[in-house]
């Protein structure tokens, strides 16, 4: 008998505890933000960077008096990189009636969470890069970085410009890699660049010999590599070992500081397009990068900048509106453009289109002697 009664008692208290947590009172002089982010599971590397960027911005803003005099109160909630948990976190967030929701980063998590945010008319600033996320007509979903559909044309343009006629695509089989792969394929086809081999790789893959062998055998003019950091580094090392001497081109991650550090000399010669980089030739960005490193002990990647600038964007728009109003906030961002001159925390000028995609300047980078060297600054696409 005890058995059953214990079960029931536990089951009912199970309900009571989360229910209580939801109805906590809030002080009126703070503004609440909830971060629905990947702090464990496969997305944690990006997620923890994002969290650091968010924390850093909030600390700065709170020290400077907050937004419209109200202190920001943020709560980071791990979604374990799993859609069903991300949805739970988003649902919990909505019950709490935050001003905005931050995150998530993985497209599956964004998919389920943004549906919740949309119903509750709460703006969501996500770190997702997959092209399709903003193409579902959502009014409250905003990007914090160039999407793959904005970045890939720039990479493809570059390839066309330097006379690359055929390419091998090597990508990682997760949602990040798959999204980049699909978008890139479309852009390459549009420009008549032939894809001679299309090679998926596993997350956590150790041995890249089979990939390198097939990529080299295809005899294309260049390799386009789209993978996470450690995989990019291992791939570059395997390529160097094989003696591959044609261009290796990537987007953001491949030429990031982290990959250069991990791959050592093997990273030299890698080229790519970078939407956000701490090495951008811009005093605001450089100052951010230095400060981030001083606090956390390692260099920020684009996810750190995404988290950081999202908070400043929210601050900028809110102050422009002069009030805390979710609907007005969302409406003001759509089609708005915001300059870093006016709002230094944005780091770079940024503009949003009607879908919530953003547009800003970006860079072409080459790795020389273990350093990111910016070879060209690309203006915003200017469609906005």
């Amino acid at each position: 008998m005890i058995k059953r009664r214990t079960t029931l008692k536990l089951a009912t208290s199970a309900l009571a505890v989360p229910a209580l947590g939801i109805t906590g009172a809030r002080a009126a002089d703070t503004v609440k933000m909830i971060d629905d982010v990947e702090l464990s599971g496969p997305g944690v590397t990006s997620g923890s960077m994002w969290k650091n960027g968010v924390d850093m911005a909030i600390k700065e803003i709170n020290a400077g008096g907050g937004i419209l005099g109200r202190q920001i109160e943020v709560s980071h909630q791990d979604n374990q990189s799993q859609a069903q948990i991300a949805k739970a976190v988003a649902t919990k967030a909505i019950d709490d009636e935050p001003y905005v929701i931050l995150g998530p980063i993985f497209s599956g998590d964004v998919n389920v969470s943004s549906a919740v945010a949309e119903t509750a008319e709460t703006p969501m600033f996500m770190g997702g890069e997959a092209a399709n996320l903003t193409q579902q007509g959502k009014k409250y979903l905003f990007r914090s970085s160039l999407s793959q559909s904005a970045a890939m044309p720039k990479v493809a343009n570059y390839m066309q410009k330097v006379g690359i006629k055929s390419v091998v695509i090597v990508w990682i089989s997760n949602d990040f890699g798959k999204g980049g792969h699909d978008t890139m394929l479309k852009e390459l086809n549009a420009r008549g660049i032939k894809v001679l081999a299309d090679i998926p790789t596993e997350p956590g893959q150790m041995d890249y010999t089979s990939v390198v062998v097939n990529a080299v055998k295809a005899g294309a003019d260049a390799i386009f590599s789209y993978k996470n950091e450690e995989e990019s580094a291992r791939f570059l090392i395997a390529l160097r070992k094989y003696g591959y001497d044609k261009p290796v081109i990537g987007e953001t991650v491949l030429v990031s500081q982290r990959v250069i550090e991990l791959a050592g000399t093997a990273a030299n010669g890698a080229r790519g397009h970078v939407g956000l980089t701490v090495d951008a030739p811009n005093p605001l960005v450089l100052a951010f990068g230095a400060k981030f490193k001083a606090i956390y002990g390692y260099a920020s990647d684009h996810n750190g900048i995404k988290g950081y600038t999202s908070i400043y964007l929210i601050k900028a728009v809110t102050e422009k509106l002069g009030k805390f109003d979710r609907k007005a906030l969302a409406a003001a961002i759509h089609g708005g453009s915001f300059s870093a001159k006016q709002y230094p925390g944005l780091l770079l000028d940024v503009a949003f289109d009607a879908a919530g995609d953003l547009d800003r300047e970006s860079y072409l980078v080459e790795v020389r002697d273990g350093k990111q060297v910016i070879t060209e600054t690309l203006p915003p696409l200017g469609k906005v």
């Binding site: 496969p42 596993e202 956590g204 893959q205 041995d207 089979s210 291992r234 070992k241 991990l262 050592g264």
Partner: protein, 292 residues
């Protein structure tokens, strides 16, 4: 042809890494019937211990390794056996499986919080040199890892078959009661197995991490592959782990290059399943007697 050789060669070297991790797994199984789902984390943890000694305490690699070895023997050897395995082993396989699963979650997240979720480089004990043999390109590290792994596997085999302690350990594994009658201290023998396992984990970390890079979840892939290797080669045979590891490493490369990169892992899995169903003792293992 060069490509094929290249694939084989690097498959062997990668497989050797899997084999090293698998070796500890088979050892624990033989000695005590422990199935360790925290296999990968037991390589990750020493890697991060070494990183700590190297970067925070600024010690040379050799000292860092020795300190890690000691810590590893204490925590992954002694404490693991005394605090987790001993109380649970008599309740059958499942509670222990769940407990090691809990350990895996715990270790992984502990490292993540203490050391961040980022990737870290790790110094190699081998010089960063590339050797070109008739168009075949290998790094010194690859050769070194493969040779060391083979050496260690054969060494463990030698220890188990040719030394008094080793044979006593095997006797305990085969029949604990009979071993006790022969005056063997069964508990001590099992403890030896755990200590050897812990030492192997530290050594594996030293060899694998420079290539694979240090990350809190590095144990996921490594653990899974080592697991395949252990089963395919033969659960109760140390050479089996070596064969299994190399098979998995080579197969992945060949399938990835010639059949389908997206089902690269699928083929190793298929082999794994076939072995389990049709020769559960593994390719080199001895059949286990079914108790009546």
């Amino acid at each position: 042809m060069t490509d094929l050789l290249q694939l084989l060669l690097s498959g062997v070297s990668t497989g050797a890494c899997y084999a090293l991790a698998a070796l500890g797994f088979t050892l624990l199984w033989q000695a005590s019937g422990t199935i360790n789902f925290a296999l990968g984390e037991m390589v990750m943890l020493p890697a991060f211990m070494m990183l700590f000694f190297l970067n925070v305490a600024s010690l040379p690699l050799a000292v860092a390794f020795l300190l890690t070895l000691v810590a590893s023997l204490l925590v992954l050897g002694g404490m693991f056996k005394l605090l987790v395995v001993d109380p649970l082993i008599r309740h059958g396989v499942i509670p222990l499986v769940i407990a090691t699963l809990g350990l895996s979650i715990g270790f992984k997240n502990l490292t993540r919080v203490a050391y961040s979720a980022q990737v870290f480089t790790f110094p190699s004990i081998f010089p960063d040199r590339l050797i070109d043999i008739f168009g075949l390109r290998v790094t010194v590290a690859e050769i070194g890892t493969a040779v060391l792994a083979c050496g260690v596997a054969l060494g463990v085999q030698f220890f188990l078959n040719r030394t008094l302690t080793g044979r006593a350990m095997q006797a305990v594994a085969q029949n604990r009661d009979a071993a006790r009658v022969l005056g063997i201290n069964a508990n001590r023998m099992v403890m030896y197995a755990f200590l050897v396992n812990a030492a192997l984990a530290a050594l594996t970390a030293l060899l694998v991490t420079p290539v694979y890079l240090a990350k809190f979840d590095m144990g996921d892939t490594l653990g899974t592959k080592a697991f395949y290797a252990a089963i395919i080669g033969g659960f109760n045979n140390s050479r089996g782990a070596l064969l299994g590891g190399v098979l998995v490493g080579v197969l992945e490369n060949l399938v990835g290059a010639y059949i389908s990169p997206s089902y690269k892992e699928g083929v190793a899995l298929l082999l794994f399943l076939l072995v389990i169903v049709f020769m559960p003792q593994g390719l080199l293992g001895k059949p286990e007697e079914r108790r009546v």
